[in-house]
């Protein structure tokens, strides 16, 4: 029992299990492999964003601009592709590079200019979205992807590739966090930045990297989103940051930094996907889903505090 209580991901595991069992009993057609795969595919972008956010939050920062950076990458993809003769590969690379650039900008402002993450990413949130609108042109709400992008559309929509990609990103994130110095440095900075710096960690570099990585992932998510919708929508990614951060927090990563779990974040996204499928199949209004998300967020953080309290108590009585 003591060991189980130590698991940070406990609340989200219980949540996923509970949701699954509940919906399996109450929602018609819930347990359907193909259907579930489709739903999970829709959440692949969130999962990819959540991995990057886990690293950032673990380092004590935050990034509320991921949705806008996703949108910017999507629109850039659409704009580049609408030039005749441009290659799909180049367009995708540019989109991902743009995402990385935004992330690097965030990282630079946080690490070198020493500005607060929330305000930097607030300004990026507005600026990236605004520039996406400007790029798309006045009065354009979406750019249809041309025929040569069909490969992307097929891969994103008709195949499980997005899910596979999300899994790859998740594994990479998990490895980075748990198995090598980089991950240890991130968490050290998140726990106590001063101490980390004094112990020789290049805080600036690590911070720059986590924001740049997240920007990169947002760019990738932007490309996938464009593929799945067969269109580059100027509002793509709007609001994604809220849901992604919620998934990360539900997953057991601590907002104050120092404790992070990629597995938890991915499970948080899975919980959101299960909720969406379950409520959708039961015909329950989407607004109730929003409310449930809010309640879940609060309850899961409370439960996590409870868990930490019990873990500390039981550790003492060893």
């Amino acid at each position: 029992m003591k060991k189980i209580i130590q698991i940070k991901e406990l609340p989200v595991i219980v949540l996923c299990a509970g949701l699954f069992i509940y919906f399996a009993l109450r929602a018609p057609n819930f347990v359907d492999a193909l259907g579930m795969l489709d739903d999970v595919k829709q959440y692949a972008s969130y999962a990819i964003l959540a991995v990057g956010l886990t690293l950032i939050i673990g380092s004590g920062g935050i990034d509320i601009s991921v949705g806008s950076v996703l949108g910017f990458s999507t629109v850039l993809l659409g704009v580049v592709l609408s030039r005749p003769g441009s290659s799909l590969a180049v367009a995708c690379l540019l989109a991902i590079a743009a995402g990385t650039a935004w992330g690097a900008f965030n990282g630079f402002a946080v690490a070198r200019l020493k500005l607060q993450p929330i305000v930097v990413t607030l300004s990026t949130w507005a600026a990236a979205r605004g520039l996406a609108y400007v790029m798309a042109g006045g009065g354009i709400s979406s750019i249809k992807l041309p025929a040569r992008a069909d490969w992307l559309a097929n891969v994103s929509y008709a195949s499980p590739a997005p899910v596979v990609l999300a899994l790859v990103v998740a594994v990479a994130g998990w490895l980075a966090l748990s198995c090598c110095g980089f991950g240890r440095h991130i968490l050290a900075i998140g726990s106590n930045e001063q101490a980390a710096r004094l112990s020789g960690i290049d805080v600036s570099r690590v911070k720059l990297l986590v924001y740049a990585i997240t920007g990169f992932l947002a760019g990738v998510a932007g490309v996938i989103t464009a593929g799945m919708m067969s269109t580059a929508q100027t509002d793509a990614g709007l609001g994604y940051e809220f849901e992604a951060i919620t998934a990360v927090l539900i997953g057991g990563t601590s907002i104050s930094g120092g404790e992070a779990t990629v597995v938890g974040s991915v499970l948080g996204v899975v919980a959101a996907a299960l909720l969406n499928r379950g409520f959708g199949l039961m015909g329950i209004n989407d607004l109730w889903r929003m409310m449930f998300l809010g309640v879940t967020l609060i309850v899961s953080v409370l439960l996590d505090r409870l868990r930490q309290y019990v873990a500390r108590r039981s550790a003492k009585t060893v």
Binding site: V14, G35, S142, L238, D286
Partner: protein
């Protein structure tokens, strides 16, 4: 310990399964026919009125007619997810008003492959496998209509502005396209730039209009293509003391403009009855599922003659709302 935990989880879940509510499982092969309307979003007056039409159709036609949509406006991905859910349920027909016409192409294909009939209403997805589209008028045509009537009211000359909602909404952009197209017919009318965006927020509608009035003290009129536009513009015009001198035409609900119409501050609205539109669509879809295809010029009770074109667009007569007839409408 592991086992204990598992038992607790299961017990919890079983206990939870006692509460909560769900709709009837979808028909599929057995049970009542189910038609699901997936709108752009839920929780706004326009969608509520559409929903009333769907509910009336359910009663009159004796089939399940449901109405749903994402909670957030412009949520393209959320809408696709909801459509995927309907495919999982195995419903008989899905009727969509897409947030973005291209984004629903793959999911419509998938539904069609699974034997579900897909239609669109209110907003179209033209290059997809949807069987037909029911609308009051085409989005560009409505914009043109608004501009024509505004032009008449300003006497064919002067500066007129345009107010849209959010920059990312396709139907709004098409309305604006229509307004600009019609504008070309009037050489003595000049566009008062910039085109305003009110993001569907009344305060921005008002402040945008106030700003425009400051920029052009002799502004003659404004064409508003999104709902909060006309009332917001009206408030700004009243506050600036130019009520009646600045002509306002737009797309908005009569209930939000009733007093402004009567006082002559808003000159007129162009709209259609969203409930009737939804009801008509449900009826046509139901008929189609019975094997009866819609034909050009067909008469429908309470609605009038329908125009049906060969790429499946069905036009329901729209309505112009002015102070003379505004009280006839309760939405």
């Amino acid at each position: 310990m592991n086992r204990k935990l598992a038992i607790i989880c299961i017990a919890l879940a079983v206990a939870l399964s006692g509460c909560g509510k769900s709709k009837e499982p979808a028909a599929g092969a057995k049970g009542k026919r189910t038609i699901v309307f997936v709108f752009k979003l839920v929780g706004i007056p326009y969608s509520n009125v559409c929903q009333k039409g769907a509910e009336k159709a359910a009663k009159d036609l004796g089939v399940n007619v449901e109405f749903t949509g994402p909670a957030k406006g412009g949520d393209v991905a959320g809408q696709v997810r909801i459509i995927e859910n309907q495919i999982s349920r195995g419903v008989d027909a899905i009727v969509i008003s897409p947030n973005d016409p291209n984004s629903v192409k793959p999911v419509i294909e998938k539904a069609t492959r699974r034997g579900i009939k897909v239609f669109t209403w209110d907003s179209d997805a033209p290059e997809t496998k949807r069987i037909f589209y029911v609308a009051a008028a085409d989005d560009v045509g409505i914009g043109e209509d608004i501009m024509d009537r505004l032009a008449k009211d300003v006497g064919g000359k002067g500066k007129v502005g345009i107010m849209s909602g959010s920059q990312g909404a396709l139907n709004l952009n098409q309305h604006v396209e229509g307004v600009l197209k019609a504008l070309k017919k009037y050489p003595n009318i000049e566009l008062a730039k910039p085109i305003l965006n009110n993001n569907d927020q009344p305060q921005l509608a008002q402040s945008g209009m106030s700003g425009l009035l400051q920029r052009y003290p002799d502004l003659a009129g404004i064409a508003c293509v999104s709902s909060p536009g006309p009332p917001g513009a009206a408030r700004a015009v009243i506050a600036a003391g130019r009520a009646g001198k600045v002509k306002i035409w737009g797309l908005s609900l009569p209930s939000e403009n009733r007093q402004y119409l009567k006082d002559g501050i808003v000159n007129g609205l162009i709209l259609w009855d969203p409930a009737k539109l939804t009801y008509l669509t449900a009826k046509l879809v139901n008929d189609y599922l019975d094997g009866k295809k819609p034909t050009d010029g067909m008469e429908v009770k309470d609605i009038g003659k329908l125009k049906v074109s060969k790429d499946g667009i069905i036009i329901m007569p729209g309505v112009v709302i002015t102070k003379e007839n505004v009280d006839q409408f309760d939405f």
